[in-house]
């Protein structure tokens, strides 16, 4: 969280993509598989599924011999059972259907029907809202590939269906990437390309972090290529299932999201001007008056990115403009408000900078982690020769954050397994700090969703279902899935907390330096007073007014925070330096 490195935030914002992207869940740093070839005719893919291997191998018959009764029994038994299960599905008796299909899967003698049973089981689970359970079976189908199961493409459609219903798309991102080479249903091509682009962008970030710059650049270029494959029409309506299996759904403005990813990739490739144009295009696309599928979160992120790029290039007025465009109370609004404080500070609008900090440090956001806001506040007071206030702010900063630093040191120096790092080591305050990393937050959210599926999705079903082989199997699969997520979150959290520990140490040192400087200035004022024989004033009364524009009313702040006033505060500097330093020449 360095103010001089806002540029880094632009990239880090990628983790706050509306459908987030991160290096989570098996991000593969090896060279990607070649993309699906254009000559493929995806429309035909579902229509002409490769035969299942079991069916593809005709049983060898010896002259004069009949098929054994066992084989005949296996083949003849599975069809009625699958039909019965399908009938239950049609009657929306999903639970019974799932149990029946699980029973089929458990019988080795019914192997001929396992492929279909597995696919039907995915449907039965997904339609019950057991999305993560469905995902575990979807994995089994997708792993077989289109050559070994005719349900591959239908399963991909269900993957998109399930993904849309998860708190974030992360769990399906790596699955999409993994099966990219095997083609995708035509109706989902745009989403598929978008997700792949996002995956490649994240992969690029991971490669860059690993110091593999060339590969990172290649990944970002690939992300751009994939984002460019998303058609402009994507986002104007619902996808239509090509196999007729998965229910149709509105996928949102995929094109706008792809453009956004493209912008991020451009920025990562240091093509800032082109990136700016992309983000502006996203703003245009997400204009609610334009009639495309609305995506206010994406619009907010585009404004934030534009603001950051301008800030980074010292175009502070533009940055303030774009920060101001972020919708009040949006997901990134507070972050924007904080960053805008620095832009205001740079252009000498100290009143507005302090006003923003007032919001940031209000009781509403006391759990948010913005230690640098205290340092900025102290600097503003210092620059206005308000030494007692600066000292007070620094003292408050130390009081609040030295304890946090000690806690971070203790946590990061304690050996703990990744799987239990967050649970055992961290206080709620530190946990919240760890979750400022969007990937960790999303991992936590996914783990919580799995918990919810276990507690409510499975827990609220009757005891017979929970005790059934299927119920037990689902609990085991979900527990395994969650354990993997928690382990990854723990690993990332350790890195995140170590980083924050170091940042906080630097800030505490910076605060100390400011404190020393404040003391020096105060001493000089005192020495000046002694030399002059009378008190030397370092501040003078400033001219100020509480006049506001016609669109506003003046409400004096009296220590009480009103929700609808947040973000509108402006500090009245009634006193400032006698020789006020010239304001920044930055634009």
């Amino acid at each position: 969280m360095s103010r001089t490195a806002l540029a880094g935030l632009v990239l880090s914002l990628a983790v706050a993509l509306p459908a987030p992207a991160s290096a989570q869940l098996g991000l593969d740093l090896t060279a990607p598989e070649p993309p699906p070839k254009k000559k493929e005719e995806p429309k035909k893919a579902p229509a002409k599924p490769a035969p299942a291997p079991e069916k593809a191998k005709p049983r060898e018959q010896k002259p004069g011999l009949e098929l054994t009764p066992l084989d005949l029994g296996g083949k003849s038994d599975v069809r009625p059972r699958l039909d019965a299960a399908k009938k239950l599905l049609d009657q929306k008796k999903h639970e019974e259907a799932a149990a029946a299909l699980d029973a089929v899967l458990r019988e080795p003698g019914l192997a001929d029907g396992h492929d279909e049973a597995r696919y039907l089981l995915v449907k039965a689970l997904a339609l019950q809202g057991l999305h993560y359970s469905a995902l575990t079976y979807l994995d089994e189908i997708l792993e077989r590939g289109p050559s070994r199961t005719k349900y591959f493409h239908s399963a991909l459609e269900w993957l998109f269906y399930v993904g849309k219903r998860l708190g974030n798309e992360q769990p399906i991102l790596s699955r999409v990437a993994r099966h990219a080479r095997d083609g995708v249903p035509p109706a989902y091509q745009d989403r598929f390309h978008f997700l792949l682009a996002k995956y490649e962008f994240e992969r690029g970030r991971a490669l860059e972090e690993a110091g593999r710059a060339e590969e990172a650049t290649a990944a970002w270029r690939e992300a751009r290529r994939l984002a460019g494959l998303v058609r402009r029409e994507a986002g104007a309506g619902a996808a239509v299932s090509s196999t007729g299996e998965a229910p149709v759904e509105d996928a949102g403005d995929v094109y706008a999201r792809a453009q956004f990813t493209d912008g991020l990739a451009l920025y990562a490739l240091k093509e800032e001007q082109a990136a700016t144009e992309k983000f502006k295009e996203v703003v245009r696309l997400t204009n609610p008056k334009k009639g495309r599928t609305g995506d206010p979160e994406l619009r907010e992120l585009a404004f934030l990115q534009l603001a950051r790029i301008h800030y980074q290039n010292k175009q502070n007025r533009y940055a303030v403009f774009y920060y101001g465009k972020m919708p009040w109370g949006g997901a990134q609004w507070l972050e924007g408000l904080w960053e805008a404080s620095y832009a205001h500070y740079r252009v000498g609008e100290h009143e507005k900078a302090l006003g923003n900090l007032l919001t940031l440090q209000s009781a509403y956001f006391q759990d948010e982690y913005y230690p640098e806001s205290w340092v900025l506040k102290a600097i503003v007071y210092y620059e206005n020769c308000r030494y007692p206030e600066a000292r007070l702010v620094l003292s408050e900063f130390s009081r609040r954050y030295e304890a946090v630093y000690d806690e971070l040191v203790a946590i990061t120096s304690k050996p703990a397994a990744a799987s239990s790092f967050l649970e055992l080591s961290a206080s709620p305050r530190v946990k919240k700090l760890a979750e400022t990393d969007q990937t960790i937050k999303r991992l936590g959210e996914t783990a919580a969703e799995i918990d919810a599926e276990v507690d409510r999705g499975l827990g609220r079903r009757d005891a017979a279902f929970r005790a059934s082989p299927l119920g037990k199997a689902l609990q085991e699969r979900l527990a395994k899935e969650k354990a993997a997520l928690v382990t990854e979150a723990g690993l990332r959290a350790r890195g995140k907390l170590e980083y924050e520990r170091d940042q906080l140490r630097a800030m505490l040192a910076q605060a100390l330096r400011i404190s020393i400087e404040v003391s020096r200035q105060e001493r000089e004022a005192l020495e000046g007073s002694l030399a002059a024989g009378s008190q030397v004033e370092v501040v003078k009364d400033l001219r100020w007014t509480h006049a506001v524009s016609d669109e506003h009313l003046y409400w004096p702040y009296e220590g009480e925070f009103w929700r609808d006033e947040l973000g509108t505060y402006s500090y009245t500097l009634t006193k400032g330096c006698k020789d006020r330093p010239p304001r920044s020449s930055a634009r």
């Binding site: 009313l553 004096p556 500090y571």
Partner: protein, 260 residues
Amino acid sequence: MSPATTTRSLAAALVLAAAAAPGAARAGNKADAFEGKIRPVSGQLYQKAGRLELTPLGALSLEDAFYTKYFGGLKATWHFSEFLAVSGEVSTGAAQRTGSAVVCPANQGCHPASQAELYQVPGRVRMIGGLELAWSPVYGKLNVFAEKVAHFDLSLLAGPDLVVHDEVLASADASALAAAGGKPATKNAFGGHVGLGVRLFLSEALALRWELKDYVYAVDVPNWQENGRARRDVQNQLFTELGLSVFFPFRNRAGTQGAP
């Protein structure tokens, strides 16, 4: 310290406006972005939770055709929270005939009602004592000439009462009593009231309190016979009260309304 500039709709209109606004319109309101996430006010300047409020008050009856009551009283309120409180109140005072208590017989000129005639009508209340439950859903502030801020709250009030009033007499009894120079006996009636209350906070310890209440109770009116006996008539006594509240302790209780 620092001024806040914001376009704020007056909270005074909040209750009705909120009820009237369509869902979509409310969802589009600027203040709704944090709805359900953070409370409307944090660090509330004037807090009531866990405090005792004593209010010496004056009350005036409204819209009574025969008697105007000028009461003084005392009200004690305990605030369980910012939103919920119980009170006990006693008020008493003078009941004077109104200027509208005039009799206009047919073919004769109008004249002020005689004492005997006034003994035959209800409304001469001597004292009211009661309990009250108050729900205060609205805490707001007003911009006074763009210079000062006035904080207030709005409450809905209801509770049971004991109303001590003069007995309503039959015409013969009234004439006899008036001739003898006597006064009607007092009677007790149980009733209840509903009302609206407003506090205007002056400091953490002081507030102006204004209330409008409708006291409802029943009296026997002998001149109005039904089924061979005096009709039991329901009375509505409208009162307005103004008081100066003192809160104990004098400062907000710590921790009752800090973090959002």
